[in-house]
Symmetry: C2
Subunit: 459 residues, 2 copies
């Protein structure tokens, strides 16, 4: 980093909040994806004013600025591919306000998801999107990537809960969007434009979330199916049945096999396992919904159906699903967790397509995911030190995206585009839509300083 | 309309779908607001291709184009203040697809809200936002204004259900946004940018909606309160109580008095009436939630509490609320229905402020609205033929907006900005946000042909 610029940054954030030490630069070089690139320096910021000063400087000097929360992103959105300044927001970690009577929470972007959940719990409230990385990930990152989670089928994603933002534009100007009200239609919805924009348009320095009262009853059950088609049909019929499970998860055969090879869970080795959970305030309500689901299971040739009789039994049913990611991650030296999402009725087609891709490229893919909203996570396992396997992994990934789009789906349900899926944006979006996205990027950030290289915005 | 341009329009849509007759021009000169201005001509379009051809022509010739559905907007968004071409989308009224298993419906913009609801009913599904004009309003208009309704407290607004759009840009290019999946984070959320943009950025020619299974049980109750503060506190405490009523409506004293003077309903003449409805799949669930609400009512000095024992009784309880708008609309020659929205805990403050504004300007304001999401509808009644009253009405409106913003609220919860609230945009939005909205407008529509004059985008 140029000496004069380094001094300017130190003048803004203070010596103790500036770093260009090798260990920090290595730490900032990665996130939860396979991408790596070192920045020139990092700064811990404390306020929108500091962010504004830094962006003014970076904009004048054309230096990339990469906003970063906890770095749990799976697609490289926090990786500084062109170097530059890591804008570390993790110290802006205050919950500024919880107003139950107004049904909202106002937070700084560095607050960890679980901290907000903990603060809401005594009031009987919760923040419904529930990313798997909840104990680590920051709410700013959740907003920047429109994070989802297991409860998405019923409760949607982060986007549905962001009421307003305070943001800093690349030229340093600060503005507020939205409002602290449950609904508003007053000018363009800039709030929602920034949700999921992966730090490429603005830096988020404050978030107003809508929060929900937490349902107090749940019912949990699972079913296994020897045939994929039966499980796929069951998912469609559950939607038809007129209820919305709060979770409807799926584990594919290769995930089940991998879990059995690496744990003592002893799952039945079937094509697919479906795990359903209903919620409400009364046992009658959750049981009524579960009855509908069990009826559907029964009609579709299940090998086995298990209903939890207690919270402990429910936790047991969740064990296989909750361990999937970690178990699979340990099998090979490397893995990539994909995130394709399709119309729900195409789940069986997608899973069959994945089998074909596995065979065609001789690579291991284990799939699990959120059947209730069509969001599948094929986890590709490979040896990253073997260039041949890396090549096969890349070919398989490309075909996964191709297939999802062919089935009427999208590249990403909840992880975002970042670097990993940037080359595939044109598969999903028509040239006009790409033009418009790029024009919006240029409008906000003419010098392309904010998180450059992401989302195919530069081609 | 210039003869050559008229001929070009006829060439695009056919003679029978072009009009410049006086009676049509008068019909197109208004909507449900107090604004009036005649266009030069109108065209009924059938396809995105026709819309594209018309926009290309208009863009070349710099002619305003005003997209129009049913003209039920309350803020003048469909009024052609600068003349030009009315682009009438009401003939694009096909429901293109209902896929229950994928939980979505694809419609053309001219489909009437109630038609979609009717088509979904046999499947046990519904489209949750429920604008009061449901039997007349078009879904394209619902999307363009982000329409809300009585179920907003629990189910949100139109925005929460739009998954994807097909739109035509002002230069005639056609593009798709979003996807037919329950969730997606793939590039900028252009879909949500267009929801609520009031026809100023693009013309919507196809909409993909998320739909919901319809809860089969409801419980309804109302309470009256002699003191406004008690009703306000009850609203806050209902939120605290940990449940989400699907409707929580409020009628203020002047609405109650006006209903009594103009109907045989004989309501108790109190400061406020609250009407609550809970929903679910089982009686146990809706009763459990209503019990919480009744407990709150009881703690806040109610004059009377009525619980419906049957569907007929529930309909009776709804009668006063459902008749409010129409009863009030008949009292004076003119009225304007405002739409201010505030944090829920400020409802009593807002209602008291409205009383003060009434007295200060010696004008009648009757308020009702959606307490459950802080959205109040003060209906100002006046004689529009008396310039003195018109002046007082305008002063009162301005103070309403001022007060809402002071209380942390927004100009509009569900009706939009249009012409009526354009002068007040800078009250709510900071100069940077106004700059950004205007820059986005110029980016999409550099010749300012799409619905010019609305939303304060030109200053």
């Amino acid at each position: 980093m140029d000496k004069k610029i380094k001094q300017s940054l130190i003048d803004i954030v203070g010596e103790e909040n500036y770093t260009d030490s090798l260990i920090d630069m290595v730490s900032y070089s990665y996130d939860a994806s396979e991408h790596r690139h070192r920045p020139s320096c990092g700064v811990w910021v404390k306020s929108a004013e500091q962010v504004s000063e830094i962006l003014k400087l970076a904009n004048r000097e054309h230096i990339p600025v990469i906003p970063r929360g906890a770095g749990t992103g799976l697609c490289g959105m926090a990786v500084p591919v062109s170097g530059g300044i890591i804008l570390d927001l993790s110290h802006m970690n205050k919950i500024l306000k919880i107003s139950i009577e107004d049904r909202l929470a106002i937070v700084q972007p560095g607050v960890i998801y679980a901290e907000l959940d903990k603060a809401l719990a005594p009031h009987g409230f919760f923040f419904p999107p529930d990313p798997a990385s909840e104990k680590v990930c920051t709410l700013g990152g959740n907003v920047a990537t429109n994070a989802g989670g297991i409860r998405g089928a019923k409760y949607g994603t982060t986007r549905d809960y962001v009421l307003g933002l305070k943001v800093v534009l690349p030229d340093g100007r600060v503005m507020r969007t939205g409002s602290n009200t449950m609904k508003s239609v007053s000018g363009y919805d800039l709030t929602k434009l920034f949700v999921g924009s992966e730090g490429t348009l603005v830096v988020i320095t404050e978030i107003t979330f809508k929060i929900n009262p937490k349902p107090t009853a749940t019912t949990t059950a699972l079913a296994t199916f020897d045939k994929l088609e039966d499980a796929g049909r069951a998912v469609s019929q559950i939607t038809y049945s007129g209820i919305l499970p709060r979770a409807l998860e799926i584990l594919g055969r290769h995930t089940i096999l991998a879990i059995n090879q690496n744990t003592d869970l002893n799952l039945p080795e079937v094509d697919a396992m479906l795990l359903a959970e209903t919620d409400g305030y009364t046992k009658e309500e959750t049981d009524y919904q579960m009855k509908k689901i069990i009826e559907v299971f029964k009609k579709n040739n299940p090998k086995e159906i298990k209903e939890a009789k207690s919270e402990e039994e429910a936790a047991e049913l969740w064990l296989a699903r909750k361990s999937s990611y970690a178990v699979l991650a340990r099998i090979k030296t490397h893995f990539v967790l994909e995130d394709v999402t399709i119309p729900m009725a195409r789940i069986a087609d997608m899973l069959k397509g994945i089998e074909a891709i596995m065979e065609r490229h001789n690579i291991q893919i284990a799939t699990f995911g959120h059947a209730g909203d069509g969001n599948l996570h094929p986890q590709i396992l490979y040896d990253g030190y073997d260039p041949e396997q890396v090549k096969r992994k890349e070919a398989a990934s490309a075909e996964l995206f191709q297939l999802a789009v062919e089935l009427g789906g999208t590249l990403s349900g909840e992880h975002g585009i970042g670097l990993s899926k940037a080359p595939f944006m044109t598969l999903e979006h028509d040239p006009v839509a790409m033009d418009v996205m790029r024009a919006i990027k240029r409008l906000f950030d003419p010098n392309n300083i904010l998180n450059p290289g992401k989302m195919a915005l530069e081609a």
